[in-house]
Symmetry: C2
DNA sequence: CACGCCGATGTCAGTTACTGACATCACAGT
DNA sequence: ACTGTGATGTCAGTAACTGACATCGGCGTG
């Protein structure tokens, strides 16, 4: 007989996503989330640093996968190609969870506060990708600019993936967006 | 005899920047800021929506100037060139306030919460630039990607401008960073 | 098997960001 | 003089978050 049901963090995350979707992020109190998960408010904050983080905790995994993808790209690959490889690796992780990703994205889109957190996560990811590029002996500012461009591509592609009702794969949309970026910047200056 | 000293918003902003710099953002309470400005906490929130916004209220002006710069670029200019014109217009506004910008940047760099707010302001700026491009009949996704790239360039250039102790002009650093972006993406795919 | 430590949770009190409702009073216009 | 208005003050309240301490099953150790 266990003293508590296992999976407290998962129950909290599920309850939070449901409540945020039902009545909005600002209108949901942490006490309500905890109650629905069968726990107390204090326990919520032991698992998640704040009310927003419950939606973003999974992002660390995605970042690790992408960084590995960049590092494992062929040594001869150009910086932008290495980043592309990282994005593709990340896309594989997401590929099976489109409806979860969509529900989560809708909740975030409805709250300015959550958008702030999303942006800083993206920025952290960009920094991690830049770091990976430097690990491949790419110099600054090429590393940072390339990583930023990669993030922009991912952002645009992810939004399209969620928006399109179709079965089109995220990986394909990323390739397409990258081509578009190339076309845009070709005429620079 | 006036009932209150004028310039309440400015006094609050000054007091906030000073205190954030002295002891850090999280360690400063709104009550302390208000007291130093000779006002009450409630009045602080009448001028600024929250504790962070006091550092970002001026950003609206910068955005307007940049948007105008994009719209006023020659009709023949390519999207990326129009964005570049907008960034240059923004640079002019900042050019005279390097030490203020530096102090503010240092405070923001020391706080994750403030970085979140900074990022969303940058994102809003990016959206506004994309909108301006669409006003120039640039189609999606070119408009968004170009604007994003412009933001990335501005971000990198601004950081360098603050970091370098020299008298080098922000405008010049922006031109240089833009050239680097062009070089990076030229090899894409 | 008894003991004792550990880790996840609960309980409780406190701080602080932020909000709504209402009061005050110099100033401006009439 | 009379009155409306706007910027501020006062006060009470909600909810995010934190620190300190209590609880008690499970697990390793002797």
């Amino acid at each position: 007989m266990t003293r508590w049901e296992p999976g407290a963090a998962e129950r909290l995350a599920q309850a939070a996503l449901d409540l945020y979707a039902e009545r909005g992020f600002e209108q949901t109190t942490v006490a309500e989330i905890a109650k629905r998960a069968g726990l107390t408010e204090r326990t919520f904050f032991r698992h998640y640093a704040d009310k927003r983080e419950v939606l973003f905790a999974g992002g660390a995994t995605l970042q690790e996968v992408m960084v590995r993808g960049v590092l494992d790209a062929p040594a001869a690959a150009a910086p932008i190609a290495a980043v592309a490889a990282g994005l593709q690796a990340g896309a594989e992780v997401l590929e099976g969870r489109r409806d979860f990703a969509g529900r989560r994205a809708a909740v975030i889109a409805a709250s300015a506060e959550l958008q702030e957190r999303e942006l800083i996560k993206m920025s952290t990811l960009g920094a991690a990708l830049a770091d990976a590029l430097r690990g491949r002996r790419v110099a600054e500012p090429t590393a940072s600019l390339t990583a930023q461009a990669g993030i922009a591509v991912f952002h645009v592609a992810f939004a399209r993936w969620i928006e399109e009702g179709t079965e089109r794969e995220l990986a394909a949309i990323i390739r397409e967006s990258l081509d578009e970026l190339k076309a845009v910047t070709a005429g620079a200056r």
